[in-house]
Symmetry: C2
Subunit: 278 residues, 2 copies
């Protein structure tokens, strides 16, 4: 099976409508991938250790998507086995007054991982060309200027060996409504319910257009977007996990060679051992 | 008098050799500018207050130059009267191990001022395409790639209303030697003496070439470089101060209009006052 159909590279004429949010790439039942999922989690752990040890690359994983598309959920499921010493999740809400006074890349850049580290962004600098555009705080011209700055920013990161993986969690409006209802009707889920979700929902079409434009303008071959069907949570998690593992393995990360002085000291230890005997 | 001759805009074929480090733009004695200097400091205070109040722009002032070119000195002299609530000076030394693991813009971006604020950088992200290039830690291709990223970064800041002012403090090798000698021979100045300055001095030509290339590739009309003759400290301070004030005044910063509710409350207060009387 191949996840390339969800990969949006440079120059792609993306139409979100052409992607079915309920698609599962031919997999009929989540039981079919249970074993593979387990194996993928092990490979992820292995890769993260190599990344941490080699310090050759950093890995930034950006999650974007409509409300209820499962950004929190996917982070929880995919990274559950990972060493927290080498991984951080960052969630970006409405900017504080101080943050809003800065250039729009300032607050997120602080959280971009170093080489050796991985970080997941739950929302990101992309919001500054999405929510602001939909609500008319910035016009189309400013949105395009920001998207260009984002492309330059990600180019810089890539050239500095910070890989940028971008996921758009693609859901249908029906799926979203079901989740909102669920949150409203279920007392244990009230804490998740945000009345503004109902307001934002009215702008569905404008958001889809803004996403389409953002993805088109920032999809490059070095840093493509992945449009992941997300109406089925199990498939969403599987597609993200597998893409991430495959991208990490492409880096061919290896453990660093033992330092020369380690070898010398081992030799000394051995000699010391034998001289004591003689 | 006009300081435009020191301004390097887009496409300029800069030759540092064509600039005399001892030039004083026809001013024979620093006494000639004493009154103007005083007036400039007052205008700077005024402009900084407007910047702070209006929050419409930020101002980043980058100082680069060889060892002993007076980066510390100029910051001390130019910004002495400024409100520390709206200004910060940042000095960038050798990156820590943690910083070095990040992309090369990470540590400096954190210190880029917000709108309403001013910041002076004593050395900056430019070092990542200067000292590294001279010492061969990065090759020419990587240096050019970084300079391109810097241009994109500054473009983004400008479009976000963070103005970037760049000064190259231009000294002669003879002036530098005199300063180093001074530091070695003068017990009260020993703390300023760094033996590596003598080492770095051997790479004078390579540094001049690296600066020339860096300035050419990052001078834009929105964010030009200013090559300031710095063998005379008084002229260096004067040229920097005047350029800074003129750039701030170009922004036509105004105090914000009183908020509507202030007017309403004033009205209430007046009415309350009269009703008490009646």
């Amino acid at each position: 099976m191949n996840l390339n159909r969800y990969r949006i590279g440079a120059g792609a004429k993306l139409k979100l409508k052409a992607f079915d949010p309920a698609d599962t790439n031919g997999i009929e039942d989540k039981k079919q991938i249970e074993d593979e999922q387990k194996e993928l989690l092990e490979r992820l752990e292995e890769q993260q250790e190599r990344l941490f040890a080699s310090r050759s690359h950093g890995m930034l994983i950006v999650f974007q998507g409509m409300d209820c598309s499962g950004k929190d959920g996917v982070i929880k499921k995919v990274f559950r086995g990972i060493d927290p010493g080498g991984f951080r999740a960052h969630s970006f809400k409405k900017p504080t007054e101080e943050e809003a006074q800065h250039d729009f890349l300032w607050r997120t850049h602080r959280s971009v991982p170093a080489r050796g580290q991985m970080a997941a962004f739950n929302r990101s600098y992309y919001e500054e060309a999405l929510i602001t555009r939909v609500h008319g705080t910035i016009d189309d011209k400013e949105a395009r200027r920001r998207l260009k700055s984002i492309r330059h920013f990600e180019d810089m990161l890539e050239s500095q060996r910070i890989r940028v993986l971008k996921f758009f969690l693609h859901i249908s409006p029906e799926f979203q409504l079901e989740k909102i209802r669920d949150r409203m009707e279920n007392p244990e889920k009230w804490w998740k319910f945000d009345p503004s979700d109902l307001e934002e929902r009215k702008h569905w079409k404008a958001y889809q257009d803004a996403y389409e434009d953002a993805i088109r303008r920032t999809a490059t071959d070095a840093s493509p977007w992945h449009v992941v069907p997300a109406d089925n949570r199990w498939f969403r998690n599987y597609a993200v996990l597998r893409t991430l593992v495959e991208e990490l393995e492409k880096l061919e990360l290896s453990y660093p060679q033992p330092r020369r002085d380690v070898a010398v000291r081992m030799e000394e230890l051995k000699e010391g051992g034998s001289s004591e005997k003689s």
